[in-house]
């Protein structure tokens, strides 16, 4: 028996208590039983779980109307579970999607192996890897802040879902300050990032934290003012009321109500990129200069919690843009355009008619699809625009966006005061702006169509033959 000396420092073997050994044993045997089944039917299990969740939520919604009492405790518990599950699935999907989008923009393939179809299970495999990694805390770090920071970042963005509507009746808490709750929670998220950067006690992380703090101080004011415009137009902070006001076809969407609102929608989108640290505002985590910014010292599950928070926050700011400016959960089709013969079926009070209403006139699906489209635009921006410097962030937010937003705020106030909703000017503006946006969308589709026709010349024969769906 020779004692080998290792070049690294030997760690003490952890002393497991009986209960810990039991937990490890149970976990290992469950994994041993579940792994072959998971490997055999990954897609069936995944989609089955999704379908089961959807059906379950629908059943709970039906039951809660019929049986539950004044405080709806059971309904609340199940709804919180549903909302957290939705929040947990956003990053799983969006990270895979972002990798595919990035790959497509760079003429690569992206994840292709895990799970079979286009590597759809890549995020889950990554998640398992990250859970299995060692939970490291640097010796010089402020251990308490370091450990606490991921939760301070993740929990607020999940709380924001509680007042985020998915439809007129699909909201956990319909509060009259719903919008403010979401804004507050996005603000608390920043505290977690600063905590992480400071607690890691490394110069890269502190640089990242300082940049995040400076960025927050500069983007929050224009962002707040841009949120005020729809609020003062509708006269409510309640997201359901703001969304309901836009249910009459896409020309009633708030972004098209006045030129000020149109510019404010774009300005909000820019500040929302800064708010969830996305390129071109990803200075806190500028991986080409600061290693990984505030995330440098993190690894394993804590690191992935930050990414969960980032992707959930992306969805939330996109959903907020949808509710405030782009019609919320209503589809572009106005109920008034439905012809009589169709209306007789559509406005009947049965389950099939309600399902058709949800698909044609608006429901949670529209909300989720629109929000994910804006999330897609965030990815698109990230992989096409270069990062800007911190002084450029401060300049653009404080010296450009802030005066612009003040002008827009005053302009919109006067617009609401002086231009009645049914006046000629308001109608012309509405039709001009909505048709402009529509034409821009059609133009984009036309460009995509032309590009597809010429794809061999544009992206090259290799990409066309090798990239699936190119």
């Amino acid at each position: 028996m020779t004692q080998f000396s290792t070049p690294w420092v030997e760690r003490n073997k952890p002393n497991l208590s009986a209960i810990e050994k039991l937990m490890v044993g149970v976990a290992m045997s469950v994994a041993g039983l579940a792994a072959p089944i998971l490997r055999r039917f990954p897609a069936a299990i995944f989609f089955g779980a999704v379908a089961g969740g959807v059906v379950g939520i629908y059943l709970v919604a039906l039951l809660s109307e019929a049986f539950l009492g004044e405080y709806h405790l059971l309904r609340d518990i199940l709804a919180v579970t549903g909302v957290s599950l939705f929040a947990a699935h956003i990053p799983l999907f969006a990270i895979w999607w972002e990798r595919k989008v990035a790959a497509r923009i760079q003429s690569r393939m992206g994840p292709m192996r895990v799970g079979g179809w286009h590597g759809w299970a890549q995020s889950m495999a990554d998640g398992i890897k990250l859970i299995a990694k060692e939970d490291l805390v640097p010796a010089a770090a402020d251990a308490a802040l370091f450990r606490l920071a991921p939760y301070v970042t993740l929990i607020p963005v999940v709380i924001a879902f509680l007042t985020l509507p998915f439809g007129a009746h699909w909201i956990f808490r319909n509060m009259d300050v719903g919008l403010l709750v979401i804004v507050a929670m996005l603000g608390v998220e920043v505290v977690g990032v600063i905590m992480a950067g400071w607690g890691s006690n490394s110069k890269w992380t502190v640089y990242g934290a300082m940049r995040e703090a400076c960025q927050m101080v500069s983007y929050e004011i224009p962002m707040g003012i841009s949120l005020l415009l729809p609020v003062l137009t509708i006269g409510s902070l309640n997201l359901v009321q703001i969304g309901d006001a836009q249910a009459g076809g896409w020309h009633t969407w708030l972004a098209f109500q006045s030129p000020f609102m149109f510019v404010a929608a774009v300005a909000y989108y820019i500040t929302s990129l800064a708010s969830c640290k996305r390129a071109p505002f990803d200075l806190p985590e500028s991986e080409s200069e600061l290693v990984a910014g505030f995330l440098t010292e993190y690894s394993g599950i804590r690191w992935s919690l930050f990414f969960f928070a980032e992707y959930v926050a992306m969805y939330i700011v996109a959903a907020l843009a949808v509710v405030l400016f782009f019609g919320g959960w209503s589809s572009p089709i106005s109920p008034e355009w439905i012809p009589d013969w169709m209306g007789r079926f559509l406005f009947a009070d049965n389950a099939a008619a309600r399902a058709a209403q949800g698909l044609i006139l608006g429901g949670p699906i529209w909300m989720v699809v629109k929000s994910f489209f804006l999330v897609f635009v965030q990815m698109w921006v990230r992989w096409t625009l270069p990062r800007i410097r911190i002084d450029q962030v401060l300049y653009s937010c404080i010296q450009v966006l802030l005066p612009l937003m003040l002008v827009l705020l005053i302009g919109q106030t006067l617009w609401v005061l002086w231009v009645p909703e049914d006046s000629l000017l308001a109608m012309v503006t509405r039709i001009a702006l909505s048709s402009f946006t529509g034409l821009a969308g059609l133009g984009a589709c036309w460009i995509i169509f032309k590009a597809r026709l010429k794809k061999r010349a544009l992206v090259g024969v290799l990409a066309v033959e090798q990239l699936p769906g190119a």
């Binding site: 897609a43 179809w117 007129a168 009746h169 956990f172 808490r173 006690n201 006269g235 249910a247 389950a351």
Partner: protein, 221 residues
């Protein structure tokens, strides 16, 4: 279409079936009563929505009060006993957050949310400009002199006595909770009944801002 020409199954038939089932289920869930622009506002129509106008469940109220009241008190005390400046700021944030949750339990939603918005930003600014940019060493520790301790003790004792006097002297009345005041009422009152105090506070804040800008501006001869 794998790289080496082996075929990767694109979509298995049973997968397509499951996908179809999922889409069908989603279509079912799309069926909440859509609030039409024409037909009733729909806020009171039931469905999968819960309006928080009254309080929460009595049990949650009690547990929440003691939990977050305790957290507020504990973290307030922790501010005094922490030596690290950044941790102090974090404890301060915890205190203010716990107080905000107490406001929520009292159905003062607007106040609670504003508390979080103002102090989340406020704590950060305190951290950045008060701590990180003014101290030389990143891990500055506070050392309190004896005179400072005595003066602080006297002031806090006086403050404590005054607060306790108020708390004990007030004729507390138990009543039915009135529910939350709509934020619209709050706004209207601020701009009509309480316009003068509101404007005075706005002017005060403006003065503070100008003062801060004056102090922070670069010295030029």
């Amino acid at each position: 279409m794998g790289a080496n020409g082996e075929t990767v199954t694109v979509l298995k038939p049973q997968l397509k079936l499951i996908l179809a089932a999922v889409i069908a289920c989603m279509a079912m869930t799309a069926a909440p009563r859509v609030a039409m622009a024409s037909g009733g506002g729909g806020l009171d129509e039931g469905g999968f929505v819960s309006d928080v106008l009254g309080g929460s469940h009595p049990l949650f109220e009690a547990v929440g009060f003691y939990l977050f009241g305790g957290l507020a008190a504990f973290s307030a005390i922790a501010i005094c006993f922490t030596k690290d400046v950044v941790r102090m700021a974090i404890w301060l944030f915890a205190t203010l957050g716990a107080v905000a949750i107490l406001y929520f339990l009292l159905t003062a939603y607007f106040l609670g949310v504003i508390q979080i918005i103002v102090y989340a930003g406020g704590t950060l600014v305190l951290l950045i400009f008060g701590v990180m940019l003014t101290t030389k060493s990143p891990s500055m520790q506070f050392a309190v002199s004896k005179i400072g301790l005595a003066a602080g003790g006297v002031v806090s004792l006086l403050l404590f006595a005054a607060l306790m006097g108020l708390v004990l002297g007030t004729d507390w009345q138990r009543g039915e909770p009135t529910g939350s005041i709509p934020v619209a009422t709050l706004g209207r009152d601020l701009l009509t009944t309480y316009l003068v105090p509101f404007e005075v506070i706005s002017v005060l804040l403006l003065v503070v801002m100008i003062g801060a800008a004056y102090l922070a501006r670069q010295e030029r001869e």
